[in-house]
């Protein structure tokens, strides 16, 4: 179904962030959020960078995709173009940050590449044309929703980890296994929302 009106784009943003959270209904970016809880460093800044990269990549990818046309070979090259684009944005960002605010850059240097090149950015940009047809508004809405949804799941994970730090935790479930179960139960809870806007 091709969607162009801004109302549907807003719906897609809300679905991707909350109702059909991209991380919990397709597993995109779930490994990244688990890894983010283990790295220290400024995480809100990381989420902000991810949001910016997602929107920028979606914005640039759309015109290039129109140029390529919709041949079968073009559809196969899409992922390569998206990764190349996010790599370009990443290099641009490092250059800008290093020049403008070196202190902030030092703080986020280790995790910046993962903020640019990850499954959330690439996945969202890949899903949009495939599922909802050619519309710039939809691409950007989906990428933005995916980034917000990713940060939401990350916050839930932090809250869960804090609640699981107790001595009565069975040793075989302590740590990552319990985190998987926690994500599984959250995914089950999100099944309550209907899937008329589905991303797979």
């Amino acid at each position: 179904m091709t969607i162009t009106t801004p109302h549907q784009a807003l719906l897609i943003f809300l679905a991707a962030a909350f109702a059909q959270n991209l991380v919990l209904t397709t597993g995109i970016g779930s490994a990244l959020s688990v890894r983010l809880t283990r790295k220290n460093g400024n995480r809100v800044l990381f989420a902000l960078c991810l949001f910016v990269f997602a929107v920028l990549t979606a914005l640039c990818f759309h015109p290039i995709d129109n140029l390529l046309g919709s041949g079968e070979a073009a559809r196969m090259l899409r992922p390569l173009i998206i990764v190349a684009l996010s790599a370009v944005w990443y290099l641009l960002a490092t250059w800008v940050l290093r020049k403008a605010t070196p202190r902030v850059y030092e703080d986020i240097r280790a995790v910046l590449p993962f903020a640019a090149i990850n499954t959330v950015v690439t996945g969202a940009t890949l899903i949009a044309p495939h599922q909802f047809g050619e519309s710039l508004l939809v691409d950007v809405a989906l990428s933005a929703g995916a980034a917000v949804g990713f940060f939401l799941v990350y916050l839930l994970l932090c809250e869960g980890i804090d609640r699981m730090q107790h001595s009565a935790m069975p040793k075989s479930f302590a740590g990552l296994p319990a985190l998987f179960l926690y994500l599984g139960i959250l995914a089950l809870a999100l099944c309550g929302f209907s899937s008329d806007i589905s991303f797979i």
Partner: protein, 218 residues
């Protein structure tokens, strides 16, 4: 180029593939597992593509890894992986089976940007010598593949009652098993089983080596 004995390579392989399995212990590369591994066929194709790509990129990176500035290492690594995966996608679609590509259109290319490669891109280059680098790359891909097939196979059995598209005489019919929540829960149980096996093995190891105070686990 430190040459190691065969035994050391075997323990390195066993360590990376099972004891500290990339997926179940480090929590890396979950995206293809949750979304893509709904049938055994999908899992096997992803396993093969991941193994080939990982090995080739790690060899490629060993070659030019040292000369690259640290900023460029991750992007170049991911770009190579993505290019390789596009090639494999084309081969899969042209020669193997188009409907398999249709069902994996999203998760096959995503393999390149999962934390599997990023994680591997970080530690692998420069830490090991080339031969060990190769073994490490293959064993982590193997470990990832084993979990992938396990999850994909189980979910296919439960949700479609078929294994490799051959129907099975089973009573249970749970189409929801292909949803992500089943994958997360299954991963949790597998990770718990592995962690329990690891702690049991660690206890057994401690008990055998006599401690300074004359052994005797109190």
């Amino acid at each position: 180029m430190r040459l190691r004995s065969k035994k050391e390579y075997r323990t390195l392989f066993f360590d990376r593939a099972f004891k500290s399995n990339l997926v179940l212990v480090e929590g890396v590369g979950l995206c293809p597992l949750i979304g893509g591994a709904t049938t055994l066929k999908n899992s096997v194709t992803m396993f093969v593509c991941a193994a080939v790509t990982l090995v080739l990129t790690s060899i490629l990176m060993l070659g030019i890894g040292k000369k690259l500035p640290s900023v460029l290492r991750i992007p170049v690594h991911t770009l190579c992986a993505s290019a390789l995966l596009c090639g494999e996608a084309y081969l899969l679609n042209a020669y193997v089976s188009t409907e398999l590509y249709a069902s994996l259109y999203l998760f096959l290319p995503l393999l390149a940007v999962t934390t599997l490669f990023a994680y591997h891109g970080d530690n692998a280059v420069g830490a090991f010598d080339p031969r060990a680098g190769f073994v490490d790359a293959f064993s982590s891909a193997f470990g990832f593949g084993v979990v992938l097939c396990l999850v994909g196979g189980l979910r296919e059995i439960v949700s479609k009652r078929t294994i490799w598209d051959r129907p099975l005489p089973l009573a249970v019919d749970l189409p929801e098993a292909s949803l992500p929540f089943a994958a997360f829960l299954l991963l949790g149980l597998l990770a718990a089983a592995l962690q329990r096996a690891n702690t049991a093995a660690a206890d057994r190891a401690n008990r055998q080596t006599p401690t300074m105070t004359g052994g005797g686990d109190v």
